[in-house]
């Protein structure tokens, strides 16, 4: 079966105005299958977000190409939904209008927009907050809205760039469970960037470990924990075993990054 997303020899170098060249990403080859939940784990500043942004079409690779469903990615588009670490809801739109944004952009009829928005509002547990403005909601609720907004657009793949990174720990754990629950129900293909090991294992069926900058994929690890997963799985021996291995991998990279 040909992969849904294929990253082929993608590298990225940045040139500063003074002419200084930084290699952010060494050539990366990576495939994501349909219905995969892949997490990209790596120390901060390792280029994992750069890779995700290239997949989203928000950044251009210096070499290589990205194929989605066999077609090369030229720029950003609605077939790749994205949830950012920063709160990117449109502050002038209500929660419902935010979720309908992409649907309105493609000219979907009002009634259909409403129906889809209602479905995803319920899905992320925001019923009763439809008419609120983003600033009236907590960080966790804003990110839930952002997830609903991306999902409502029915993208082929959902790209998530440390979406829970700015949340407190308790909220983050709840958000992981919510997202995993949605994935278990819808099997939407997800590519999720994080530096949190627990987060990487808990939701994924595959973890790709990034090296320190310049980034490349160092190891790939299958996570064969059964679904549906409950938070108690985090204390199971299998989970602990995976965590120990990934901790070792990440530790080496963090130390390498620190030495720079």
């Amino acid at each position: 079966m040909s992969p849904l997303l294929s990253i082929q020899g993608v590298s990225r170098t940045f040139v500063s105005p003074k002419g200084q060249v930084t290699q952010a990403l060494l050539p990366v080859d990576f495939d994501v299958q349909e219905n995969d939940f892949v997490t990209i784990l790596g120390p901060s500043g390792c280029g994992k977000s750069t890779m995700l942004r290239i997949v989203a079409g928000l950044d251009h690779p210096t070499s290589g190409r990205v194929l989605l469903g066999g077609r090369p990615v030229e720029g950003p588009g609605a077939d790749r939904g994205m949830v950012f670490q920063s709160y990117t809801l449109f502050p002038w739109l209500t929660i419902e209008q935010n979720i309908r944004f992409g649907l309105r952009e493609r000219g979907m009829p009002e009634a259909q927009q409403k129906e889809r928005a209602d479905y995803f509002i319920a899905k992320v547990g925001l019923r009763g907050f439809e008419q609120h403005f983003p600033k009236q909601l907590s960080g966790g609720m804003q990110q839930r809205t952002a997830i609903a907004r991306a999902l409502a657009n029915d993208p082929k793949i959902l790209l998530m760039d440390e979406p829970f990174g700015a949340l407190d720990n308790q909220t983050r754990v709840l958000m992981q469970e919510l997202l995993l629950g949605i994935w278990e129900a819808e099997r939407k293909t997800v590519m999720f960037v994080t530096h949190d090991i627990d987060e990487a294992i808990f939701m994924a069926n595959r973890v790709a470990v990034f090296s320190a900058r310049p980034g490349r994929i160092k190891t790939e690890l299958a996570v064969d924990l059964p679904h549906p997963r409950h938070y108690t799985i985090k204390t199971s021996p299998e989970f602990m075993d995976l965590k120990a291995r990934l901790t070792e991998e990440i530790r080496a990279e963090s130390m390498a990054a620190d030495a720079h």
Binding site: A56, G57, L58, G75, P76, G77, A78, R80, G81, M82, F84, S86, T88, F90, P91, W92, L93, F101, G102, R104, E105, R106, F133, K135, Q136, A146, R149, A150, N153, L159
Partner: protein, 278 residues
């Protein structure tokens, strides 16, 4: 023992601070109102002492009482309402014309760097051309009619609005633009449904500011070659050494400015409730 060990000297119990004097400490709405009115009273009191007490010649400065009497006369005898109407009409006319031209241009400059590179140097240059210096030229071109007055206001406002709007739109949040792209927005969609709504509250605030400046231009325009308006009345009164009327005219301008500013603020708050949220 304790002397050897050394005991930290006991702190005196902290006195309650005088919060009214603490920096950035907010005051209640009532206090704010009382203080605001108090200054006006103080101002009029000092004015009265100097004029009614005979420290200043009435030729140079009328007393508040004379001013009020002259003001009454202006309305009842000299058709001052017509003058006020003319001035307001000129300000609004010139300002609205300027806004219609400047806001779209500013948005285009803020959104498209090519347009900005093309227009920004010229507009920045024009911004420093004093509107009042154009009056003789505008009289040559447009005569002494209404067109000339409108043009003075227009020239005084249009370049300011263009530049300020361009900066506001250019400072749009990059992450919101990216989010919109990943939701399928086209470049036109980005301008119309991200840049413009995001900049709207600040654009409205800019218009409020520039409307205040437009008021100063209109008076200057009316001081020269005019047969109506508040500025015209002030020049006439100067010829008659009627300082009471001059001061009354100035106060009326201030009052109209205050009212229109409050109205603008009120409308902005209503239209852009989201931007006041924290």
């Amino acid at each position: 023992m304790s002397r050897v060990m050394g005991v930290a000297p006991a702190l005196e119990p902290e006195r309650p601070r005088r919060r009214a004097l603490a920096p950035l400490e907010p005051v209640s709405t009532r206090t704010r109102l009382v203080l605001g009115v108090a200054f006006f009273i103080l101002f009029f009191a000092v004015w009265s002492v100097f004029t009614l007490g005979g420290f200043v010649s009435p030729t140079f400065l009328a007393s508040p009482v004379t001013m009020a009497k002259e003001g009454w006369l202006l309305f009842t005898e000299f058709g001052f309402l017509h003058d006020i109407g003319m001035t307001v009409w000129r300000v609004l006319g010139g300002f609205i014309l300027a806004a219609i031209v400047a806001v779209p241009l500013g948005i285009a400059m803020g959104a498209h760097k090519g347009v900005e590179a093309f227009l920004e140097p010229f507009v920045s240059f024009c911004r420093y051309l004093p509107a009042s210096a154009f009056i003789p030229l505008l009289i040559l071109w447009a005569g002494l009619g209404e067109m000339q007055k409108l043009l003075v206001i227009f020239i005084g406002s249009v370049f300011q609005i263009i530049l300020m709007v361009a900066v506001i739109v250019g400072n749009a949040r990059k992450d919101l633009v990216e989010a919109a792209y990943t939701l399928g927005s086209s470049p036109t969609g980005i301008v119309r449904r991200v840049l413009i709504p995001g900049a709207a509250p600040d654009i409205a605030e800019t218009l409020r500011l520039v409307l205040g400046w437009a008021w100063t231009y209109v008076i200057v325009a009316e001081l020269i070659g005019s047969s109506s308006g508040i500025g015209h009345m002030i020049t006439d009164s100067q010829a008659l050494l009627n300082t009471g009327q001059i001061i009354f005219g100035i106060i009326v301008i201030g009052l109209i400015g205050l009212v229109s500013d409050s109205f603008f603020k009120f409308v902005n708050r209503r239209l852009f409730a989201w931007s006041a949220l924290r």
